[in-house]
Symmetry: C2
Subunit: 159 residues, 2 copies
Amino acid sequence: MILEGVRIELPSNKPILLLKEENGNRYLPIWIGPYEASAIALEMSNIKTPRPMTHDLIINIINNLKISIDNIEITEIRNNTFYAIINIMNTDKKVIKVDSRPSDAIATAVRSKCDIYAAEQVLESGGLRIQSIEDEVKKFKNFLDNIEPEDFKNNFENK
Amino acid sequence: MILEGVRIELPSNKPILLLKEENGNRYLPIWIGPYEASAIALEMSNIKTPRPMTHDLIINIINNLKISIDNIEITEIRNNTFYAIINIMNTDKKVIKVDSRPSDAIATAVRSKCDIYAAEQVLESGGLRIQSIEDEVKKFKNFLDNIEPEDFKNNFENK
């Protein structure tokens, strides 16, 4: 999947992330938390914070342990909740699966530049195949083009 | 150090965490971000969320890799910013140091039940030795006694 971006949906003021099928035309929108949205948006916009934010810490832990994130996968939709897995390659080159919210999985994926997958069942039940989606995608791109660190300032520590 | 708690300071509406020296009478207050404050408060109050929050994910990664957090340490105050380190014991029983904000370090420490240390230099420059601190500590305890998941609902994902 390709991560098109995150943006704040109005008037609900809720953040949403949008994935697009790489070899297809289905889109997968997922409602996420504001903190996770800022973690994804800041990284996509190459905005560096003075101190490591929580998802930067996850990547620092992974890197310092000399292991890597193989990929992440949106595995399931159950009772309107999306489930994801982070696949980590350990020092024995064995893949360790860690249960995650999609937002945390994607915030770590954009930092580790690993592949993002979605199960066919997820795309079937949660995917959108709308012709006018291009306008929607433009909104995501415009949002990311115009964000400033101040947009998320409530998420930063003062000291 | 003993983690006394976190609370929202009024009227600034900013979250603060309070550590107390285990064998002494110095207190260490640290301003933190709202998301990290809720991560610490929810765990201290034994409130479980339906899906793993970001710091739960860190602990799940550590546990699934069959390694552990040895301890965390508040190492330094520089330009009014507190620095911390998470000491992780890897599979070779070697301690790996990971740079962290104090809030993230403490949110992982309360979940892994590891020791919390503060460097003497930090206690000297950031510590408080106030007789009336007992009233302050009570405020922290009252805050934790009365929180509800709804207090932090903006931090949860809706789907």
